[in-house]
């Protein structure tokens, strides 16, 4: 990229690239909220969340014991047939994000609406960003209502209001979940830009999701095995590093650190590091935050970079179908 050319291009166009952004956002959000696809999915998510929260609340109520983070346990406790709320989220949120994103651009091509919309006084930038933001806001609303359900069920069944730290931790968890869903959203949108057929992009998105959700641990083991030279510790470190490429791993670790305040470190801990450590004492909120900062940064940076990639590919595409 030559700098000169760049400046010229930059100087060339006038007007804000964000013109019409909020119109796009509002229209897309209305589409998502009104669409039968999202309604079904949100219904499914709310039902499973309610189920898992209800059963974990009962399990917690039955187990007598003092716990300063009893509301957080609502998120993480799993009762035998049902997985915990967070594992449900780890599973369903990518699904929702992919559903929102996989046909966002190619459907505009297929419906032949793209050139019509872009002939209005807006830039493509606003269309792509608007679609991304609209999906993100839709997910935010879904997650926020889920959060309220958890707190509400906690109040109703346990009779305990959440402490300030619990609210903070669960809200940060919400933000992290949003970043995690952002990854799947932007990946689905990237495929929707690359592939003209929504079915293809949906399939590609789900393939990526399946790769990380199911097969990544196997692949991790295989690849780490190739670097076998480092001995057991080296192998474990390699395995950890590779597994952290997966957003699922990052999200899982973030969840662990935020919702189990006793978590002191993520990943490999040597015995020497544990010497003299007072185990079981909860980590202060800010230290937990510091613990997940790299993970959160990774997720966020990935979202931004994938957005940039999607953006560049979309901008370079021809408008005509």
């Amino acid at each position: 990229m030559k700098l000169k050319e760049f400046k010229l291009t930059e100087r060339k166009r006038k007007g804000s690239p964000f013109t019409g952004l909020w119109t796009v956002v509002l229209k897309e959000m209305a589409d998502h909220m009104g669409g039968i696809r999202m309604r079904l999915l949100v219904g499914l998510i709310l039902l499973t969340a309610l189920g898992s929260i209800y059963s974990s609340a009962r399990a917690i109520r039955d187990a007598v014991g003092e716990d300063p983070f009893i509301i957080l346990r609502l998120f993480t406790t799993s009762t035998d047939p049902l997985p915990s709320f967070v594992s449900f989220m780890g599973f369903l949120i990518p699904l929702a994000a992919i559903t929102l994103g996989f046909d966002s651009i190619n459907s505009e091509y297929n419906k032949r609406t793209l050139s019509r919309v872009l002939s209005q006084p807006i830039y493509r930038d606003a269309l792509l960003l608007g679609k991304f933001l609209a999906a993100l806001f839709t997910l935010t609303i879904t997650l926020l209502s889920l959060w309220l359900i958890v707190i509400g069920v906690g109040l109703l069944l346990l009779g305990i209001p959440p402490s300030g730290e619990e609210v903070l931790r669960s809200l940060v968890f919400l933000v992290a979940t949003l970043a995690y869903s952002g990854i799947w959203l932007i990946v689905a949108m990237l495929f929707s830009v690359i592939f003209r057929q929504p079915a293809t992009s949906a399939l590609a998105s789900f393939a990526v999701w399946l790769l990380f959700a199911v097969f990544w641990s196997i692949i991790t083991g295989l690849i780490a095995g190739l670097f076998g030279a480092g001995g057991e510790a080296g192998r474990s470190a390699a395995e950890l590093t590779i597994s952290r490429i997966s957003p699922n791993t990052l999200y899982g670790e973030i969840t662990l650190a935020l919702l189990n305040p006793e978590t002191r470190a993520l990943g490999l801990v040597f015995f020497s590091q544990l010497q003299g450590a007072l185990l079981g004492s909860p980590l202060p909120f800010l230290l937990s935050l510091l613990l997940i900062l790299p993970h959160f940064t990774g997720l966020l940076a990935a979202v931004i970079l994938f957005f940039a990639l999607t953006y560049v590919i979309f901008q370079r595409q021809e408008i005509r179908a």
């Binding site: 166009r13 690239p17 004492s281 202060p284 230290l287 510091l290 790299p294 940064t297 901008q315």
Partner: protein, 379 residues
């Protein structure tokens, strides 16, 4: 051998005894002096000397009026015993004097009646006189030396020199602040009274705890053993020598603090001598997780007079690889005669460097977007 003994017995026994044929009725103390009018129990022995086996009837030949007597054998009322040749049989005679029996001497005659023989045993019971009570208390070691933290333990022998069982009260007079407890020797229960049978001796341990802030010197403790009508006293001394006592405390009395991994952090500790003697050669040491570094400034203190305090700085460097959260570190002060340690909870903060890196990474990612927008933007 047995024959030889029998022979010897034959040779030495007076002829009378040797030749005696008939019955005998005996008791250890045929004349008793008592002050009480409780039942008096006499043990009786009936012996058959070279007579054929026979039944022997027991009876009271003479007794003061209104006194009741019964023979008791093996828990039953009896009136006779059976004796084989050269054997004896035991029985008891219970004598119940009537209430308000006046002082005086009362005589009884008890008769044992065999087939052909009889034997009379006269008995005298004197009502009114008794032995005076007397207690004696004697320490094993009347003088002990120790430090304020020593447990002083005196062993006392208390002797009931009277004919009656007594309940003895124990009391000690010690300087203020001293804690005195009595225990029966080899037992753990604290006691204030000890029952002592007539004529017997009991051993009692007296434990004394001087107050912690006592100054060196000689102290006296008086021990009083008392029972109805009499008492005994003894004086014990304890010499308390001075002792230093160290107390290590954290900054403003707190026992926790925070530090950043890999970064040195200073904690201001206070060392205080709360003892009664100056502490000398105080050395500081610590127990910390591996790869941690703890240094003290100053490293040692030559002399710390009693009642004075000094500040010590502990420079703690958590391991570079320490994980976030709480660790325990022990600071210790060792003097010649005293030591103290304190467990300090250190909350390790991981480096905030990651925060900066995170900001840089996000900024870099955003820069990519900005470049993309500049190059491909606004189409």
């Amino acid at each position: 051998m047995r024959r030889f003994i029998i022979l010897l017995t034959l040779l030495t026994t007076p002829l009378f005894a040797q030749d005696y044929r008939g019955l005998s009725l005996s008791t250890d103390y045929p004349s008793i002096i008592t002050s009480k009018t409780d039942i008096i129990t006499l043990s009786l022995t009936v012996k058959n000397y070279k007579l054929p086996p026979q039944r022997v009837d027991l009876s009271i030949l003479r007794a003061p009026t209104a006194w009741e007597t019964v023979f008791v054998g093996n828990g039953n009322l009896i009136s006779s015993v059976f004796v084989a040749p050269d054997e004896s049989a035991d029985a008891e005679l219970w004598i119940d004097p009537p209430d308000n029996t006046p002082e005086g001497s009362y005589n009884f005659i008890i008769r044992a009646t065999g087939r052909n023989n009889t034997f009379d045993l006269p008995i005298t019971i004197n009502i009114g006189k008794s032995l005076p009570r007397r207690l004696k208390i004697e320490p094993e070691f009347p003088s002990l030396i120790g430090t304020p933290t020593t447990d002083f333990s005196y062993r006392l022998s208390i002797n009931n020199e009277s004919s009656q069982d007594s309940l003895v009260n124990l009391r000690a007079q010690a300087p203020e602040g001293f804690q005195v407890t009595f225990k029966k020797a080899y037992r753990n229960q604290e006691i204030t009274t000890v029952p002592i049978k007539a004529g017997k001796t009991e051993k009692v341990d007296m434990e004394v705890k001087p107050p912690a802030n006592i100054t060196a010197g000689k102290y006296e403790i008086a021990v009083l053993a008392s029972t109805e009508g009499t008492s005994a006293e003894t004086l014990l001394t304890m010499e308390i020598t001075g002792q230093p006592k160290l107390k290590l405390t954290g900054p403003e009395g707190r026992l926790s603090g925070s530090a950043t991994a890999g970064r040195e952090k200073a904690f201001k500790l206070t060392i205080e001598n709360t003892g009664s003697a100056p502490a000398s050669d105080i050395e500081f040491s610590s127990w910390e997780p591996s790869n941690w570094k703890v240094e003290f400034n100053p490293k040692s203190i030559e002399l710390l007079p009693a009642g004075e305090k000094k500040e010590v700085t502990a420079l703690v460097t958590p391991s570079q690889k320490a994980i976030a959260g709480d660790y325990s570190v022990t600071f210790r002060a060792n003097a010649r005669d005293a030591s103290n340690s304190v467990d300090f909870r250190i909350t390790v903060r991981t480096s905030t460097l990651w925060g900066i890196v995170a900001v840089i990474i996000i900024a870099a990612a955003l820069l990519v977007v900005v470049l993309a927008v500049m190059r491909y933007g606004r189409r």
